[in-house]
Amino acid sequence: MIRARRLLRGPWARTEHLLPVASFVVILVAFLVVPGLEGDPLNSGAWFNGFQGFAPLGLVALALGLTLIAGEFDVSVLGMQALGGVLAVRAGGHSGLLGVLAAVAGCGFLGLVQGGLIARLRLPSLPVTIGSYVALIGLTNVLANDQTLTYGNLNASVWVDNTLFGWFSPRSLITFAAFALAIALIGCTKLGPELKALGAERRGARVSGVPVERRITLLFVISAALAGLAGALLSYSEASATLDPGLQPLILAVAAAVLGGVSLSGGRGVVWGLLLGSVAVALLEQLFTIISLSAATTQILFGALLLVIVSVDAPDLKTSLRATGQRLAQRAKPRSETV
């Protein structure tokens, strides 16, 4: 009994650990059970498709999640994803690798400019990245001459979606590799605690010697490069570059990050949680496809799910509910006395 209570108080009981595991398990069970109930048991194709969805989602969620942990919010991942797609299609005509490199380098460079601006001038990241998101969509259109670009390099298109080990493709494995790299980098260096310190208490982090400007700049470079990579691989897979991805990638990435235990106010979250959150959201999306929900219903369900998560994450929810409860109790009291 005592041991169980101690277990509940241990590091596992922290939200950043509990939330990703819980949401992953719930969605995994649903993914395993629901198709069977519909009379169409899972096959390896469902897993493959789920991880195909995970490929771009995971990269964007990792990009967004890392910035969220540090207390910043990078809307421009949407624009970087679009730009990465066009850069890869433009530069990767002969060599797919060259296109990916161009996308990562180009987006990374713009991320450096943006991150440097935000860090040096201490700007709030939201309005800056909203502006740069719009600018990047414009730049993408300029580079593509306002037309959807088709990608002629069929070899690269086929290669990224090869089935490997039944469930995976090079695309999804690259995303897993990015997560592995991030876990290693952030788990084994000072970077992890530094990111959390930046998000939880910026001034304290500065005072205790965290190179704030350099870390924030680095984060925006990583975020942009990851989003560019996601866009490049996605445009290879679709054999064309989308000029405007819409809001959906951002919504799914936010859902993945929050289910992965990242707090929207910064300072909380771990990379493996982000990984579990991304896989969970990708499987959920695939589940909706399997049971053939309409696009509208899928959107309503994701929107409602996210609204609940954001409300639960809200810092004053408990206080507000308690106050309402007290007010109702007070109102009920005099009435019961008169009766």
Binding site: L121, G131, V134, L139, N145, Q299, A314
Partner: protein
């Protein structure tokens, strides 16, 4: 994120720019940018014609009306609403569907629906301190899904012809332009001359201080969002009338255009500052720049690119002024 303790006096929050190295660079960049645009505009053939000015006004009107509403969200500390276009489209649908009851009732319903849908979001943000960007983006996704589901994804057609009145052009200027200017003046009055307006500013400037002062935060934030929703509803009615139909496809780039107008108007993203009149100026500036590029034969790409860069430049200049906030 805000830890500002600078006291504001007077109604107009005008501050003398402090002289520091970064500011002067940013300021110089902004001045150079403004000068460039001005020179480009004045040297553009046909820019200074009555015809073209009317075109600028009418292209600013729709996004301008939405941006005026969004200003209230930003001023009360709600950062931005990412559900502007979605609220506008569902109100447009309601407006068109209710036209059978007459123009005025349909308009009233559009405004009431906008106020309700936006006010609910304001309640969550005011009462629970929910993250406004995330909450509104989730709401946008949900509303968009509902909009798709309604009418089975078909375009909502006007139930009667009354919407033509909103497309009229008395004295050669579209009705939407009159509404834009009238709404800007009315909202400016609310901001500067009513108790609610002052409360909105205080809650946006410093929520803990407003709470300590005993302000009803939940009510103020909800009302600010509801006022924004009324503007989104009016904009939605015009959106539905312009297109003589409404579907989620008409959302386009309204949300980010409205955000751009608010930011270019110089309203501080962290709340407590700004004015509807400045937002009006911001939306006119964006419309004028887009118009210059259009007259000079640039396609959509460069127009959008420049709009985004303009937002970044203005944010750098307005935010770099108040330093040491983190």
């Amino acid at each position: 994120m805000t830890g500002r303790t600078v006291a504001k006096e007077g109604a107009a929050p005008l501050r003398a720019p402090r002289l520091n190295g970064r500011l002067t660079i940013a300021g110089a960049a902004a001045c150079a940018f403004a000068a460039l645009v001005l020179v480009l505009a004045l040297t553009t053939h046909r820019f200074l014609t009555w015809q073209n000015i009317k075109a600028i006004l009418s292209s600013a009107s729709l996004v301008g009306i939405e941006a005026l509403g969004l200003t209230f969200v930003t001023m009360v500390g709600g950062v931005v609403s990412l559900a502007v276009a979605e609220v506008a489209v569902v109100t447009a649908m309601a407006f068109l569907a209710m036209l059978g009851a007459g123009l005025v009732p349909a308009l009233a319903i559009a405004m009431a629906l906008g106020a309700a849908v936006s006010g609910i979001q304001g309640f969550a943000i005011g009462a629970w301190n929910a993250n406004p960007v995330m909450f509104t983006i989730s709401a946008a996704f949900l509303i968009d899904g509902v909009g798709q589901g309604l009418n089975n994804g078909q375009i909502v057609q006007p139930a009667a012809g009354g919407y033509g009145t909103l497309n009229a052009t008395p004295l050669g200027v579209p009705v939407a332009v009159y509404v834009l200017v009238g709404l800007a003046l009315a909202l400016q009055f609310v901001t500067r001359r009513t108790v609610l307006g002052r409360q909105i500013m205080l809650v946006g400037e410093n929520r803990p201080a407003a709470r300590a002062a005993g302000l009803p935060i939940t009510r103020v934030v909800t009302l600010a969002f509801a006022i924004a929703g009324i503007a989104f509803g009016i904009g939605g009615a015009f959106l539905g009338s312009f297109n003589a139909g409404a579907s989620v496809l008409s959302e386009g780039t309204i949300t980010f255009d409205a955000i751009a107008a608010v930011l270019v108007g110089g309203t501080s993203i962290t709340g407590g500052h700004g004015s509807p009149l400045r937002t009006l100026a911001g939306s006119l500036a964006i419309a004028a720049i887009t118009d210059v590029l259009l007259l000079r034969g640039f396609s959509t790409g460069p127009q959008v690119l420049l709009k985004g860069m303009l937002v970044v430049v203005v944010v750098v200049v307005t935010q770099a002024r108040s330093r040491g906030r983190r």
